[in-house]
């Protein structure tokens, strides 16, 4: 009893000026209110969940978000079209290239008459898939660490390091790549990228075997994950959940297949689907996605088209340095692009791509000037996180960590 009053006091103190997220329980009940986060290691970021507990059972879970809100959408409105690319990196630090890609695609759709050469498109696909591997590896490592399988973390981060080295090779940055730009890529693909990607991708499938060998039939892992975190499929769809979460519930929907972009229709790959709809099924779906991504990267590596890596659109793409020294037009275009940017025809588009976490869609509005009028980011983590309460309520507190991990959210992606 004494403990109950202590906890309710602390929570009402935090929300002194506002309505508490959960009303304090009557002193006669044995319910306890527990603050999980915002600095809890298993929330993978700054998420606060207020839990009402009856013993070990969660009665009510109310997520509190916004701790990482940095006003990215507002900032987009004062930057030129090309400058916004650097902001899209910072939305989701585990899938920067997917964010670069969806922004570039939506602006290119607004511009209309710009043709992205096939080399740039294939390069985008390859990098987006490497990014998916990177994100899934971080997810697997941290998710397993949460549940108690510490070795996985070291294995996954070993492979992730190789991917980050490849990103650094391409863009000069390990995480904030900004490599996919409106009109193509930021830089010419570096010399020797084929060897670097080839070396990684030839070894990678055997690494996935290694992970699965550790986990697939591991009795502790199975007991912590099988049958945990079930939410009916109708509820998942109603709550706006996308990505591996609904593919583990039997919905074969993937933006890459159903609304192909950036020449994904030229690649052969499968959409892994499971129907058990629990933490274990989500794990299996992501593991198979890693194999499929490796397949796509291999195809991209072997069939990479020759040719230009930027569109021939002198008003949008910066000219080559050499041309600027010899041709006056190139110098003028360079000056115009750098000082005032380029204008994008008025209108609006919604472009969706499949990020490692689900549907990421940008709704971009232009009023015909050199800055976006509005950029709305429909981020998968924000959509998925709404399913948190049904995922936790009525379950044991100990299972909440496994359920949280299986959602694979990034708080930067939630709060923007």
């Amino acid at each position: 009893m004494r403990e109950t009053t202590l906890h309710t006091d602390s929570i009402t103190a935090i929300d002194a000026t506002h309505e508490p997220l959960i009303q304090a329980p009557a002193p006669s009940t044995r319910h306890m209110i527990l603050n999980m986060g915002p600095q809890h290691p298993s929330t993978h970021g700054v998420l606060r969940i207020v839990l009402e507990l009856d013993g070990e059972t969660i009665l009510k879970a109310v997520p509190d978000i916004g701790f990482l809100h940095t006003g990215i959408e507002k900032n987009c409105e004062v930057k030129t079209w090309q400058q916004v690319v650097t902001l899209t990196d910072r939305v989701d630090y585990l899938s920067n290239l997917s964010n670069n890609l969806v922004y570039a695609l939506s602006v290119e759709k607004l511009i209309g008459d710009i043709e992205i050469p096939s080399k740039a498109q294939w390069m985008r696909v390859m990098l987006a898939e490497l990014q998916r591997l990177n994100s899934h590896l971080v997810w697997l490592g941290t998710h397993a660490l949460d549940i108690g399988a510490m070795t996985m973390f070291f294995y996954c981060f070993r492979e992730r390091e190789d991917i980050l080295r490849i990103f650094e090779m391409f863009s000069g940055q390990r995480m904030m790549t900004s490599y996919i730009r409106i009109g193509g890529l930021a830089l010419e693909p570096p010399r020797g990228w084929q060897q670097a990607v080839g070396k990684f991708i030839n070894a990678f499938p055997s690494k996935v075997d290694e992970y699965e060998e550790l986990l697939n039939n591991n009795p502790i892992w199975k007991r912590r994950t099988q049958g945990v975190g079930f939410v009916p499929l109708e509820d998942l769809l109603d709550l706006g959940v996308t990505g591996p979460m609904i593919r583990a519930a039997g919905v074969k929907w993937d933006v890459r297949k159903d609304e192909p972009y950036s020449s994904y229709d030229q690649f052969e790959f499968e959409i892994p689907v499971h129907t058990e709809n629990d933490v274990y099924a989500r794990y299996r779906v992501r593991m198979e996605e890693m194999r499929q991504s490796a397949r796509i990267i291999k195809q991209a590596l072997e069939g990479m088209p020759e040719g230009a890596w930027q569109a021939s659109a002198p008003k949008i793409v910066l000219p080559e340095r050499e041309k600027m020294k010899t041709q006056m037009e190139a110098l003028i275009y360079h000056f115009k692009i750098v000082t005032e940017g380029f204008r994008v025809p008025a209108g609006e588009v919604y472009q969706a791509v499949e990020s490692p976490r689900g549907e990421i869609g940008y709704y971009v509005v232009s009023n015909g000037t050199s800055k976006p009028y509005r950029v709305f980011m429909r981020t998968p983590s924000f959509g998925n996180l709404q399913a948190l309460a049904p995922l936790l309520e009525g379950r044991l507190l100990a299972d909440s960590i496994a359920s949280l991990g299986s959602m694979d959210f990034v708080l930067g992606d939630v709060d923007r």
């Binding site: 978000i65 809100h69 706006g240 509005v365 924000f382 709404q386």
Partner: protein, 162 residues
């Protein structure tokens, strides 16, 4: 009135037949069908689209501030049908003096957080919302940051003062 380019869009034409007068316009620019819906009828239109036209997913709800135009706010609903692999955009125009619209949380539960976000960042109110509070900004924040008359650096702080 249904625009000509959307006459052969199955969902849009069925909607127009079922609710005459609810659609006030629209376009299909860049192959993205968009319908303007009378704000008073948004809930019944959404309910019909979800139940009869299989738009089971609501991708997001957002808004655009068209200051100084009137009506000022545009609330945008991004719908998606898994079965038909189709997307549809609904728009409602709201004036500044009456920036209030019925909530669609009764149709799709996912609208809950998106409407809170629109309320938080634009100050558009949603009637019958289960808990319309700020979601991204602190609960004692003043103003609505994504409005066009809200300065990027906020009201309280500015680099000029330093």
């Amino acid at each position: 009135m249904l625009p000509d380019e959307l006459k052969d869009h199955a969902g849009a034409s069925a909607l127009d037949a079922a609710f005459p007068g609810a659609i006030t316009g629209g376009h299909a620019e860049r192959n993205e069908p968009t319908l303007w819906v009378a704000p008073a009828r948004i809930v019944e239109v959404c309910r019909y689209l979800k139940d009869q036209q299989r738009f089971v997913r609501l991708s997001a709800v957002t808004a655009v501030d068209w200051l100084p135009a009137a009506p000022r706010f545009e609330v945008v609903y991004l719908l998606h049908s898994l079965e038909r692999n189709q997307r549809l955009r609904l728009k409602c125009w709201l004036s500044e003096s009456e920036c209030e619209i019925d909530s669609v949380t009764g149709v799709w539960r996912t609208a809950d957080w998106y409407e809170r976000e629109v309320f938080d960042l634009f100050g558009v109110r949603f009637r019958n919302h289960p808990g319309l509070t700020r979601i991204l900004m602190p609960s004692d924040w003043e103003g609505h940051p994504l409005r066009k008359d809200y300065p990027v650096h906020g009201y309280k702080y500015s680099y000029q003062d330093e």
